[in-house]
């Protein structure tokens, strides 16, 4: 066996797919050829190190960013009747909303204004038990629609192997800032629990529980 043939057999030696005879020949050659032996050590080390390269995780905000880029579902076909009827209905809702707005307490109006400003926050919150995904401002709207009763309890879930402590800490702090400062929710109305490890891969999600605090 010459050196060129030896080199060409390295991948098969590495994969363990050489016939016993070939493998024996190759190893015999490497015992007497220092160049081939050195090349083999170097070759196998390179491959082993490639396999050991640390795996990286994508940003926890990847999914929300991706979902924002997806097109909205197209309305179902219904001719001119559906948009026309929809328009009238929308006008009716707007007039109801305006009447509601005029009768609101000033503080709640302020919160609603704050909520409206925030529409591109990267988190999606999953509601227990329905499983629906909501944006923070939708959570706030629902809370306000019930007269601000109950406590929004948020449980950040994370996968310890997938999300770094730094990212997790930032996410929780951002959420606190959003609800307590930007939306102006009074202390006690929102409760953010300690992050809990979860087997969910690569997600930092926030679960919402509504209802009076026990």
């Amino acid at each position: 066996m010459n050196c060129t043939e030896t080199y060409s057999l390295f991948p098969y030696l590495l994969d363990g797919t050489l016939s016993p005879e070939k493998e024996k020949d190759l190893k015999e050659h490497m015992k007497v050829c220092s160049t081939c032996h050195k090349k083999w050590v170097s070759y196998s080390f390179t491959v082993r190190t490639l396999k050991e390269l640390p795996r990286r995780t994508i940003s926890p905000f990847f999914l929300p960013r991706l979902m924002e880029r997806l097109p909205r579902r197209e309305p179902s076909p219904g001719g001119w009747f559906v948009p026309a009827f929809g328009g009238v209905f929308l006008l009716f809702l707007l007039s109801l909303g305006f009447a509601y707005y005029l009768n609101k307490e000033p503080s709640q109006v302020e919160w609603q204004r704050g909520v409206r400003k925030e529409s591109s926050f990267p988190y999606l919150l999953r509601e227990i038990p329905s499983g629906r995904s909501l944006k923070p401002h939708e959570v706030m709207e629902r809370w306000l629609s019930e007269g601000g009763k109950g406590v929004i309890v948020i449980v950040p879930l994370y996968n310890p192997g997938e999300v770094s402590q730094v990212d997790l800490h930032k996410s929780v702090e951002n959420l606190k800032t959003l609800f307590l400062n930007q939306y102006g929710v009074p202390t006690g109305a929102v409760e953010i629990l300690s992050p809990r490890p979860s087997s969910e891969v690569g997600r930092v999600e926030f679960y919402l529980v509504r209802g009076p605090k026990e």
Binding site: C3, T4, Y7, S8, F10, P11, S34, T35, H37, K38, K39, V41, S42, Y43, F45, T46, V47, R48, T49, L50, K51, E52, L53, P54, R55, R56, T57, I58, S59, F62, L63, R65, L66, M67, R69, L70, R73, G131, S133, E162, E200, V201, G202, R203
Partner: protein, 221 residues
């Protein structure tokens, strides 16, 4: 937890969550535009594709953009996906094509090095004489010291950088095999080339890498 009713080959119905379904079983839901099914697919592939793209680009922002584009293409092309190949093969094909496009776009814009499949750099079979048989490159089995960890980290960076300099076709084959651990046959389906070509590209890529990192290896790990 989203639960769906699925029928097996014998027509029996059972309830499963999306997480329990295979990629192929998720396809009908994906084609209907089911958002939760799409989320499930994203959660399955986002990190794998990100690592693949990151090894290729060595740039986290570009890698994330490639993965975003991959999923957007999947979303828009699902109705045309006939299932002739596995879903995993298809999604890797999309990422691979985006990586290749990324490479040539960068070449056009940044005057980068040109590559050729006929490169003679680190030619396989090239013999060297007069070197001593004293090299053993071993990563310590015992707990590494901080200095060793630093050296290893540095070596990983050198290796990743060397991977980035490979011809893009070699690079992709090498990443799929040695980093992602795929079978040769699966790589051949993704790249749409014969298995022999895949093996040859991987072998040559390893050889080129080995030559590139030789100075570092000789300096000692």
């Amino acid at each position: 937890m989203f639960v769906v009713a699925v029928r097996d080959e014998e027509g029996r119905s059972s309830k499963k969550s999306f997480r329990e379904l295979t990629d192929e079983e998720l396809l009908p839901f994906l084609k209907k535009g089911d958002e939760e099914a799409f989320r499930e697919i994203v959660s399955r592939y986002q990190h794998r594709l990100y690592n693949f793209a990151l090894r290729f680009t060595r740039n986290p922002e570009d890698a994330e953009e490639i993965v975003q584009e991959t999923f957007l293409k999947v979303f828009h092309s699902l109705k045309g996906f006939r299932g002739d190949s596995l879903f995993s093969t298809w999604i890797y094909q999309i990422t691979k094509n985006l990586c290749i496009n990324y490479h040539y776009t960068r070449l056009r814009h940044h005057d980068a090095t040109t590559y050729s499949l006929d490169t003679t750099q680190g030619e396989v079979g090239e013999e060297e004489e007069g070197e001593e048989q004293s090299h053993t490159f071993q990563i310590p089995v015992t707990e590494p010291s901080p200095q060793e960890l630093l050296l290893r980290k540095e070596f990983h960076e050198i290796l990743e950088s060397a991977v980035r300099e490979l011809d893009p076709h070699y690079r992709i084959a090498l990443i799929l095999r040695d980093v992602e651990g795929m079978e040769y046959e699966e790589i051949a389906r993704i790249l749409k080339v014969p298995v022999g070509t895949v093996k040859s590209r991987i072998h040559r890529a390893r050889w080129i890498l080995m030559e590139k990192i030789k100075p570092f290896l000789e300096g000692g790990i």
